[in-house]
């Protein structure tokens, strides 16, 4: 029968797909931002079913708690009550887009079906709280030993973004920008 782990996966997967579709289809961007919040939370739940507890917490903090708040705030600043032209025009263009994404999805699923359908399922992890702390410590040690260079570059990237975002928001337009 459906064990509790399978039920969790199907429930959270269905939730993230439905609200993922909601992000794309809602005309009013505020509602698609709220659907994005629910998708992020259900994806954090999916990480939890995969025993990646620390990454689920980080996903909640970074995505659900910071990035999507920025989206909602910016949407509020724009005060867009509704959108008339939400989807791109042209039947042929949209048709080509839909067909190409269908082909892509077909390629994905045949590849997955071909290689992984007969594979054994996940080896059960040492359940309980202790394993998740050991997993977090493994993550930490490998982050600072094998991925140290990437870690420092990420710090640099964040510095560049901090400076860039502020100067970008101060530009009043025009090629020869004069101090506002």
């Amino acid at each position: 029968m459906l064990s509790s782990q399978d039920f969790l996966f199907y429930f959270l997967g269905a939730l993230s797909l439905i609200f993922g579709l909601g992000v794309v289809l809602y005309r009013n961007p505020i509602y698609s931002a709220l659907c994005l919040v629910i998708t992020m939370i259900s994806v954090a739940g999916i990480f939890a079913t995969l025993d990646a507890w620390f990454i689920a917490g980080v996903q909640l903090i970074v995505y659900a708690g910071a990035v999507t708040v920025l989206f909602v705030m910016v949407l509020m600043l724009f005060d867009l009550k509704h959108e008339m032209k939400t989807f791109s025009k042209g039947v042929i263009g949209n048709g080509v887009k839909l067909a190409s994404s269908g082909v892509l999805l077909g390629m994905f699923s045949t590849y997955i079906w071909a290689t992984y359908a007969t594979e054994p399922t996940f080896k059960p992890m040492a359940a309980g709280a202790t394993s998740s702390i050991k997993a977090t410590k493994d993550l930490a040690t490998s982050l600072f030993t094998s991925y140290l260079f990437a870690f420092e570059v990420i710090g640099l990237l964040l510095l560049v973004i901090a400076v860039g975002a502020v100067t970008l928001s101060r530009i009043t337009g025009g090629t020869h920008h004069h101090a506002d």
Binding site: D6, I46, E83, A135
Partner: protein
């Protein structure tokens, strides 16, 4: 389709199907929508789909590299969203309209 109970047991391929479906939804959103902010949200959706498959493989191969990679993907996604929205706000201030069509005025 015959529902054999064995197929319902969640394995690596179920996570990959979910991830590819979510990825295609995000891609469709990027292709079809005209509002810049919704396009940025759909890019976040695609990055989340990639994260799911990263974690699924990391859990399947029992090593932690996938999780470290997800850590970095999250940073890149957040940085991209921050700069993308800063751009969208500057365009909105100038054209009072947030539509992908106005972004070609940015070219030099």
């Amino acid at each position: 389709m015959p529902i054999n109970p064995a197929a319902w047991k969640v394995g690596l391929d179920h996570y990959l199907y979910l991830s590819s479906l979510l990825f295609v939804f995000g891609m469709l959103g990027v292709l079809m929508r005209r509002n810049v902010i919704v396009i940025l949200m759909c890019i976040e959706l695609m990055l989340n789909a990639v994260n799911i498959s990263f974690i699924a493989f990391s859990r399947y191969a029992e090593n932690v590299n996938g999780q470290v990679m997800v850590f970095f993907v999250m940073t890149i996604a957040a940085a991209e969203a921050a700069v993308g929205l800063a751009l969208a706000v500057t365009v909105f201030k100038k054209f009072r309209e947030v539509n992908i069509r106005f972004f070609e005025h940015l070219k030099g």
